[in-house]
């Protein structure tokens, strides 16, 4: 044994927990987290005085084993007969720890169907089906399964009636319905912010807006650029540019984000670069004798596909996707408004100056062409 070995050999295992701590630690390589499922559906029980719900509750067998002894022979394997042998205790457990409340009263569990198994994500779950008789509509859930045993346990609650979204509940007292709004609100907020962020960090979209905005303070008279006398005309022009750009990109953003139309991102990104170069060139050498509004609309269609790349592959359910799309679009408009509010007043103030014409308008357009072409070649390479 070398001196190096001898030095190290005698000094190991000094601390109880040291052995694991130095491991790189990001690797919870994930089985599934502990998750249970409860589905509630109003039942058509004729003549009943109470409101009756059909309930389906599912709990992973791994979780069930922490609560009820479903491996009495200790072979670490759970058979169907071992589970069935605990039917009574399982039923009592669910009745005691999955308590649905209707106002001040507790719903009564009835008609507990024979146990079954369901498979979710490749894992086996105990499937239970029972009725709940409630005096009034359900208003709360006191959920105590795995309380004090697994802090990461969550219940995914779905309710067929009332268009309520999926709720994720922790152990404890949960008012039903209250969290749902905040869930949708959170989605809307996230994508609103994402829309603003995406526009303001998307240099290509900003550059495109810039090349469309800078000629808005001019009118062409006999091939000469003349600054508009009254700001109102320029303001109207900017309003129509922004509106047509918004309308156009909203159309393609919706088509792409909802998966109706799909165009490769690389192709779109290259086209966006070309659209900027073209719009900037059109400032210098008017090629299309159309108003910038039309240009904004046509090229806005292309930019919409670019915006959609953020949303198109996100794993969102349809309802959430639509909400995300709307919020994201509003976010883009807000971002656009911020940009216009910053840039346009400066253009208005400086429109009569030589500096604006030579530096902002001509040089700005030239630099924009160079940048856009650079992006184009970078993106197609």
């Amino acid at each position: 044994m070398s001196a190096f070995s001898r030095l190290t050999w005698s000094h190991i295992c000094r601390y109880l927990t040291l052995f694991l701590l130095a491991m790189t630690c990001t690797a919870i390589q994930a089985h599934e987290s502990s998750t249970a499922y409860l589905n509630l559906e109003p039942s058509d029980a004729e003549g009943a005085a109470d409101i009756v719900y059909n309930a389906e509750y599912e709990l992973s067998l791994r979780d069930l084993a922490l609560l009820v002894d479903i491996d009495p022979n200790r072979d670490n394997q759970v058979s169907w007969s071992e589970i069935k042998s605990q039917t009574t205790l399982i039923k009592q457990l669910i009745a005691a720890q999955v308590t649905l409340e209707a106002g001040t009263q507790t719903c009564q569990m009835t008609n507990f169907a024979p146990l079954a198994i369901n498979t979710r994500g490749g894992f086996n779950y105990l499937y239970t089906n029972f009725k709940l008789a409630c005096a009034t509509p359900i208003s709360g859930l006191n959920y105590q399964i795995l309380a004090g045993i697994d802090a990461n346990h969550r219940l995914i609650l779905t309710q067929v009636d009332g268009d309520l979204p999926v709720q994720v509940l922790a152990v404890g007292q949960n008012p039903l319905g209250a969290d749902a709004d905040s869930g949708l609100f959170a989605t809307a907020t996230i994508f609103l912010k994402s829309g603003i962020h995406h526009l303001l960090i998307g240099w290509d979209h900003l550059l495109f807006l810039f090349v469309l905005l800078i000629p808005a303070v001019y009118i062409r008279k006999q091939k000469q650029l003349v600054a508009v006398a009254k700001p109102r005309a320029a303001l109207l022009e900017v309003f129509w540019i922004a509106t047509s750009f918004t309308l156009a990109h909203s159309i393609t953003l919706s088509l792409a984000a909802l998966g109706i139309v799909s165009i490769p991102a690389r192709f779109i990104e290259s086209l966006i670069a070309l659209s900027i170069a073209f719009a900037a060139l059109n400032n210098l050498v008017p090629m299309l004798r159309v108003r910038a509004t039309y240009l904004a609309f046509v090229f806005g269609l292309i930019h919409g596909f670019g915006f959609a790349n953020v949303l198109v592959d996100l794993p969102l359910a349809t309802s959430e996707r639509v909400l995300a799309l709307l919020s994201f679009n509003v976010g883009i408009e807000l971002g656009q408004l911020v940009f216009i509010t910053l840039v346009f007043p400066i253009a208005l103030l400086l429109r009569h100056t030589r500096f604006y014409k030579s530096v902002i308008f001509y040089a700005g357009s030239l630099i924009s062409i160079a940048i856009a072409l650079w992006w184009f070649f970078e993106r197609i390479m």
Partner: protein, 408 residues
């Protein structure tokens, strides 16, 4: 007739997905049917009868909590992490030992800022606490903050902690331009690893496996994999990475086919299955999709690496890049660099490629094959093979490509 293959494939994927998502409850065929295998160290069931439903929660045992955290890591079992957290939630104990357990739980839950704060709190009480120093150093390495990580390693200057200090330094060296030196140190440590406790030995082997993968060192890999276990998740991941890198898809499939319950391993298995044109690849992709849907509903953000990998395998390149980018903000281990680079190359995102190359230049992170791929802007077999599986659709149209076998 090639045109017909794609719709048929999509249809079958849809069928499998719908079966998985909307699987109906069933009654097992026989009473003897085995429905679940429990971990060998499963705790006894909490309730023996209905009278015990109101019994209080179990008390904290640091040894038990530590074991749960270990199982969470070694078996990739978030349930064990949840159980450890539940135990910690029940105590107000502020001893260093309990605070350390809390820090480890936070770290495992990807709550890095809170973990860092707690570790700094421990170090303010006990500046030379080796557990805190090592954990903080590892956490900083994960986030790519190598200089700060090194400063904590250097504080492990007690002679009795020599092994840990050397390993701690080697871990940083291997990520910051001194891979050769790190390999040398790790070889020396590995030579005495049989006398170390299993976890420390595994830590050393895992670092060696990572170094072998990046430097394409066959002899080091052979040596490491001959002594490293093939049961724990981190060890299986390292083995699978090596096999996939060498195109050993058949061996990867054999290695991982019984580990479909662990997401990270399932993703590696799918990679191999796609290469082998195994029809189970589609079934497993659908399974993975179902699990990711649950993460999404639960709003869990600790799985971005796995989600990005899934998105790549499912040919959702833009989504993969976005997830890999977000993951990159959290953690910067070899696997994170690899997934980010692969997504960036596949999406032809020059901005991201430039960012990764800049990171590799700044930190001197050595991975020549990956650096070459980033420079050329295309994925070769030598670096990102583990993630460079062709998508199902493109594989379906390509000729059969038998796996190339190499000795493992």
């Amino acid at each position: 007739m090639h045109w017909i293959k794609q719709p048929i494939r999509l249809l079958s994927l849809l069928l499998i997905t719908s079966q998985l998502l909307y699987a109906a409850p069933f009654l097992p065929k026989s009473d003897q049917q085995i429905l679940e295998k429990l971990p060998s160290d499963s705790p006894p069931a909490r309730y023996l009868n209905s009278d015990s439903f109101s019994s209080g929660a179990s008390t904290l045992s640091p040894e038990q909590t530590s074991k749960l955290l270990e199982r969470a890591y070694l078996q990739g079992d978030p349930r064990a992490l949840g159980q450890a957290r539940a135990q910690l939630d029940q105590t107000t104990d502020q001893s260093v030992e309990t605070l350390m357990l809390r820090a480890r739980a936070l770290q495992s839950d990807h709550k890095f800022s809170q973990a860092k704060e707690l570790l700094e709190q421990i170090l303010s009480k006990d500046a030379t606490n080796p557990d805190a120093l090592l954990t903080l150093s590892s956490l900083l390495v994960v986030q790519g903050q190598f200089e700060a990580a090194m400063s904590h390693c250097k504080k492990l200057n007690d002679g009795s902690l020599r092994v840990y200090q050397l390993a701690c330094v080697a871990q940083i060296q291997s990520m910051s331009g001194e891979l050769t030196q790190a390999k040398q140190t790790l070889s020396e440590l590995a030579s005495i690893a049989s006398g170390l406790d299993a976890s420390t030995a595994r830590w050393i082997y895992l670092m060696q496996a990572d170094a072998a993968l990046r430097s394409q060192d066959d002899s080091l890999a052979t040596q490491v994999f001959s002594v490293m276990d093939d049961q724990t998740v981190p060890a299986l991941m390292a083995r699978a990475d090596w096999l996939l890198k060498h195109g050993d898809y058949q061996k990867t499939r054999v290695l991982l086919q019984d580990h479909t319950d662990k997401d990270a391993l399932l993703l590696k298995l799918i990679t191999a299955q796609i290469k082998l044109r195994d029809p189970d690849a589609q079934k497993n992709l659908a399974l993975m999709k179902e699990r990711i849907e649950v993460w999404r509903i639960r709003k869990e953000n600790a799985h971005m690496r796995e989600q990005a990998t899934y998105a790549l395998l499912a040919n959702k390149t833009d989504s993969a890049l976005q997830l890999a980018r977000e993951n990159w903000q959290q953690q910067r281990e070899t696997a994170d660099i690899l997934i980010y680079a692969t997504a960036a190359i596949k999406a032809s995102s020059q901005k991201d490629i430039k960012l990764i190359r800049q990171f590799m230049t700044d930190t001197q992170f050595e991975y020549p094959a990956l650096e070459r791929d980033l420079r050329l802007g295309k994925i070769s077999g030598s670096s990102a093979q583990a993630l460079n599986s062709q998508t199902l659709s493109s594989q379906a149209l390509s000729p059969q490509n038998p796996s190339k076998e190499t000795p493992s």
